[in-house]
Amino acid sequence: MNTWRIARLVAAKDLRVEWRSRVVVNQVLPFAALVMVMFAFALDNDQVLTRVAPGLVWLATMFSLLVIVQRAFAVETADGALDALQVAGVRPGGIFLGKAMALAAQLAVLELVLLGAAVVLYKAEVVASGIVLLVTTYVAATTGLAFVGTLYGGLAAGAKGRETLLPLLMLPVVAPVLIGATRATEAALGTENATPSDGWPWIGLLTLFAVVFGVGGALAFGSLIDE
């Protein structure tokens, strides 16, 4: 079976697991919304909140990403399914792409909710002239985060203390996405008179990041999950 068909099969399976368990909907989304509310309590100033809204949205996304990635690999290791996938000769590149696709779909829903929360709680404004940049930022950043999340989730899956190891490994790596996505989102929302043209250079960084971790992950995933 070719890599693309395996990827679709694994993605459909992961999304079905979420559909049946509703962990992201019932636990991760409320957690992310709670983080946004806590930021509002901590800063307690409308002007400051509007100014830092893009950064807080992406910070909440990163925290939630950790939870989703832990969950995505917990279902694979709980009953030895990852081993079984290897024995079944399922191409590791297909597993990587499939899990990244499912992760990206869940992240996309999460990010929409967080953006909505920023508009409601932090009075962030989505302006028409920044829509294209905003959508491009979300696509590029989500793709990069999904690839990194899958790669590091696979790396930590067989390790002892993986729950605490994953944030330590992953957060430093996703820092460029946090910076690039925040700057590009600021430009898209017109934060502090920024214009959309200020954001496009950051899209280059986000795209490069996604390509590097997508290609690298697809090639390295087999070795990572192998004993």
């Binding site: 399976k13 049946r20 279902v75 709980a78 009953d79 081993d83 079984a84 024995v87 399922v90």
Partner: protein
């Protein structure tokens, strides 16, 4: 003169280590097509390691190992899509239903809907259990589901670690019938088990694994 059929498994003086512990210490074994081979031996003797090595999950440190014509020393991944391994864990997704699981594992080898339905029927899961989440099943029902997934994968070599564990009498009968049907269709089965009476009655040959070596052959 008829061509001599290559053995399905041919291990010669194989050494495999788990960490720094030599779990297999010079194991040699030959298994031919259509056999149901029982591995018996005490805990920690190397039975599970032997099965995992044949599945291409463990590297061969020393010796030669060929499974289904694939040289495990050169590339242990080549054999993987042709073997089915049922280890101590079941390899199931607890949030999915029984049918979802069998469909997924069957789809990895392109099994048809009819083949998936047949797999469920063979393991007695085509009734109301098919739509039950695996998380809600008993240990025996999970084992049945894992076996149905294995049937759906149509492996050439079945590697089963304590397959009767947790199964009720009907489940054990279903398993035995399924294994005999698989070997009749050309598959080969290696079973590691402590249930010597049950597995011994099923097996066509019995070998003992002791201290990481395969010893003594009893018919």
């Amino acid at each position: 003169m008829e061509p001599v059929e290559q053995p399905v498994v041919a291990l010669v003086d194989v050494v495999a280590v788990l960490g720094s512990f030599p779990a297999l210490a010079g194991a040699s074994l030959v298994v031919h097509r259509g056999e149901i081979l029982l591995l018996r031996g005490p805990n920690g003797a190397g039975k599970t390691t032997l099965l995992r090595l044949c599945a291409g999950l463990l590297p061969v440190e020393r010796g030669t190992a060929t499974v289904l014509g694939c040289d495990l020393v050169a590339d242990r991944t080549a054999v993987r899509n042709r073997v089915g391994l049922l280890g101590h864990s079941n390899g199931l997704y607890a949030d999915l239903t029984v049918a979802d699981n069998v469909r997924f594992w069957g789809a990895t080898v392109g099994a048809t809907q009819a083949e998936i339905a047949d797999s469920l029927t063979r393991m007695g899961l085509s009734n109301r259990l098919a739509d039950v989440q695996v998380a809600r099943l008993s240990a025996g029902q999970r084992r049945r589901t894992a076996l149905a997934c294995l049937v759906a994968r149509r492996a050439e070599l079945w590697l089963l670690d304590e397959p009767h564990a947790g199964l009720d009498a009907m489940g054990r009968d279903d398993l035995d019938v399924t294994l005999r049907a698989a070997t009749a269709a050309g598959a080969t089965v290696i079973v590691a088990s402590h249930e010597l009476e049950r597995a011994g009655a099923l097996a066509t040959r019995v070998v003992e694994v002791v201290g990481g070596q395969v010893r003594g052959v009893a018919s």
